[in-house]
């Protein structure tokens, strides 16, 4: 099994220009039969390795659709998308699953941990799908949970954890396969201010360690921590600002 513990380098992981995400003219039309809804009307966006990008915009702007496309949960109806230099168009379901497994780590607003199994097992899950051998899984899960500060909560079930702790387990899970990007959808949306602050701090640390982060958020405080803010309105990028360091 090809399982990269160390980050891929060079053109293989980056594409020619060091871009992790490279989108050109991305369109997404939902065809419900009678009505055609144009959710994205041509998005051009490039995210480079090591960037921390916040995607903001009002409800119905197409943020979630864009996030599904970035995370390869869905495919665009027009335009081209390269993720880590790999063209996503035309991949079948299993190939998309592999791309998600190796290249994308998801963090959700409502954590989406499996409630019946422990933190350890939740973090182990993506590696199970990726075919990582058992011994390696164990080392890696321990390492990740330690990294998010939950080394003493490994055998706890999600129901025995606080919201902030659950989100940290989810972040450890997202990092399990050492992905090209960490993709978070309103990661602080279900948390109180303190826990939300913790998670923001954790994101900032991960960024400092070289992770590429894409966060969809309403949370201005979180967006303010990002290095770059992309605003979406009505299916188009309306603003793209690099924050002053």
């Amino acid at each position: 099994m090809n399982w990269p513990l160390s980050k891929k380098n060079g053109t293989n992981g980056n594409g020619g220009n060091g871009a992790i995400i490279h989108m050109e003219g991305i369109q997404k039309v939902y065809d419900t039969g009678k009505v055609k809804v144009e959710a994205l009307k041509g998005i051009d966006m490039t995210v480079k390795r090591g960037e921390f990008v916040a995607i903001v915009g009002p409800s119905g702007s197409g943020k979630s659709t864009l996030m599904n496309l970035i995370g390869c949960l869905d495919t665009p109806t027009g335009g081209t998308y390269h993720l880590g230099g790999e063209a996503v168009a035309g991949l079948d379901r299993d190939q998309l699953a592999d791309v998600r497994n190796r290249r994308v780590g998801f963090v959700f607003q409502n954590f989406n941990l499996l409630p019946q199994i422990s933190s350890f097992e939740n973090v182990e899950l993506p590696m199970l799908f990726g075919g990582v051998p058992k011994g390696e899984r164990k080392t890696r899960v321990t390492e990740l949970l330690t990294r998010v500060g939950l080394e003493d909560r490994m055998d706890h079930k999600p129901t025995e954890l606080s919201g902030g702790q659950m989100q940290r387990v989810a972040i450890a899970r997202a990092l399990a396969m050492n992905p090209d990007i960490l993709l978070a959808d309103e990661p602080t949306g279900n948390l109180d201010t303190t826990s939300g602050g913790d998670i923001m701090g954790l994101f900032k640390d991960l960024w400092a360690q070289g992770c590429t982060l894409v966060v969809v958020t309403h949370d201005l405080a979180l967006a303010g921590r990002a290095g770059r803010v992309v605003e979406i309105r009505d299916g188009r990028v309306t603003k793209d600002t690099i924050a002053a360091a």
Partner: protein
């Protein structure tokens, strides 16, 4: 010690739906029980019929003479053909010593008299080979007719068990004298009771009175054979044997060899095959009924699996987002469906084995209807067939829910509320 994660997920799922799982397993167990039971009864009846069949003797054929229906070499049709005792050595020499050949001559309305206890029977003169042909076994202490009886035209008689009881009551018949049509005979043997029915208008074996054919001819004068019986050592030689018999008799009596009115042939080997075919059909029919009941169990497994997939839609979406391939989503569901099916199947099989054992202990011989059915029997064939149907049902019951699970769109299920 950490159990495998997949196993852990499966176990938590099973525990989570204990009650529903138990009911589903019961449905499958019920279906299995019905299927095994129906087949066990069918098999019991088949075994019984096979036994009865063997009671008649297995692969012999009977040749009756009739009237010619075709002209042949200038002879007109409508001639009454008769086979005589003197033809037997001719046929025997053509067939070779391996084939048993016996004639049977009937003589009706003969009075049997034992010290004033009387019975009127159809007396039959047969050869020593007849005992082997018809699988006739004597009660201990007696014997069947022998070649020497035949050669010396001895006045000996072999009796059916009911007839012997009528004439002798509680007395031991073997060795006793019996007047047969006014002449004194010695009883040499009594038939062991067997479960064969009467045959073609003849009296049932239980009331049979057999004497050597030579003796009967000596006492009553030469008569044509009622029936000629032949049995090759192996049933699959029957066709050739019958061909030779037909040719021999055709040349002796100037018959068209294709004239099946002149010689009626009743082939037990073919009958045996017909009976086996019929039972195969009956068992297949029972298997279909049982299998359909089992499929209802399968439907309930599929039902619970659909419910599980629906409940776990989000979980499945999460797994997909984590990069689970199609097979990694469907496999656990297939396994779970199979597990329910096979648990139910194992339970059903175990219960049916116990019930069949219990039923085997019920005495059935007293009641004719029950005796006909024999004892329900679970054979390897039945067990394997049931397991095969269970495996098929389990696969189908898991397949469709698994397919639905695989078609879940992760983008939709993960959308926050």
């Amino acid at each position: 010690m950490r159990p495998g994660l997949i196993l852990h997920l499966l176990m938590t799922s099973l525990l989570h739906q204990r009650r529903r799982a138990a009911l589903t397993i019961l449905t499958v167990a019920w279906g299995t029980l019905s299927m095994v039971f129906l087949l066990a009864f069918g098999e019991g009846a088949r075994v019984k019929a096979e036994e009865e069949f063997k009671g008649w003797g297995e692969a012999f054929a009977m040749v009756h003479a009739g009237r010619t229906a075709k002209e042949w070499q200038g002879y007109p049709k409508g001639r009454q053909i008769q086979i005589w005792s003197r033809d037997i050595p001719v046929i025997q020499s053509r067939l070779g010593a391996d084939v048993l050949v016996s004639g049977w001559i009937g003589r009706g309305g003969i009075l049997l008299d034992h010290d004033g206890t009387t019975a009127v029977v159809g007396l039959r003169g047969v050869d020593a080979a007849f005992g082997r042909l018809r699988n006739i076994k004597p009660v201990e202490g007696g014997r069947f007719l022998s070649v020497r009886d035949e050669e010396e035209k001895r006045r000996v008689i072999f009796l059916g068990d009911m007839l012997a009881a009528e004439l002798f009551g509680d007395e031991e018949p073997v060795g006793q004298r019996l007047l047969v049509g006014g002449q004194a005979y010695t009883v040499i043997g009594v038939l062991q009771h067997k479960l064969a029915q009467g045959l073609g208008g003849e009296s049932p074996d239980t009331r049979v009175a057999l004497v050597p054919r030579t003796t009967l001819l000596f006492q009553f004068g030469d008569r044509p054979l009622g029936v000629l019986v032949v049995m090759p050592p192996n049933p699959n030689q029957m066709e050739n044997t019958l061909k030779t018999v037909r040719e021999t008799l055709s040349s002796l009596y100037k018959l068209d060899p294709g004239d099946d009115q002149a010689l009626h042939i009743w082939d037990r080997a073919k009958n045996a095959q017909d009976m086996r075919n019929m039972f195969t059909a009956i068992l297949a029919f029972l298997a279909i009924i049982g299998g359909l009941t089992l499929f209802i169990g399968g439907v309930s497994v599929a039902n619970i699996m659909f419910a599980i997939v629906k409940e776990r839609t989000r979980e499945i979406g999460v797994k997909m987002a984590m990069g689970a391939r199609r097979s990694q989503i469907t496999f656990p569901i297939l396994i779970e469906g199979m597990l329910y099916t096979l648990s139910g199947g194992a339970l059903g099989l175990a219960v049916s084995v116990i019930l069949v054992e219990l039923m085997g202990a019920i005495p059935t011989d007293k009641y004719k209807g029950l005796a006909m059915m024999g004892h329900p029997t679970i054979s390897w064939r039945i067990a394997l067939l049931t397991i095969a149907v269970l495996a098929l049902v389990g696969t189908l019951a898991g397949y469709f829910p698994a397919r639905r699970a695989a078609s879940i769109n992760p983008a939709e299920t993960l959308r926050y509320e």
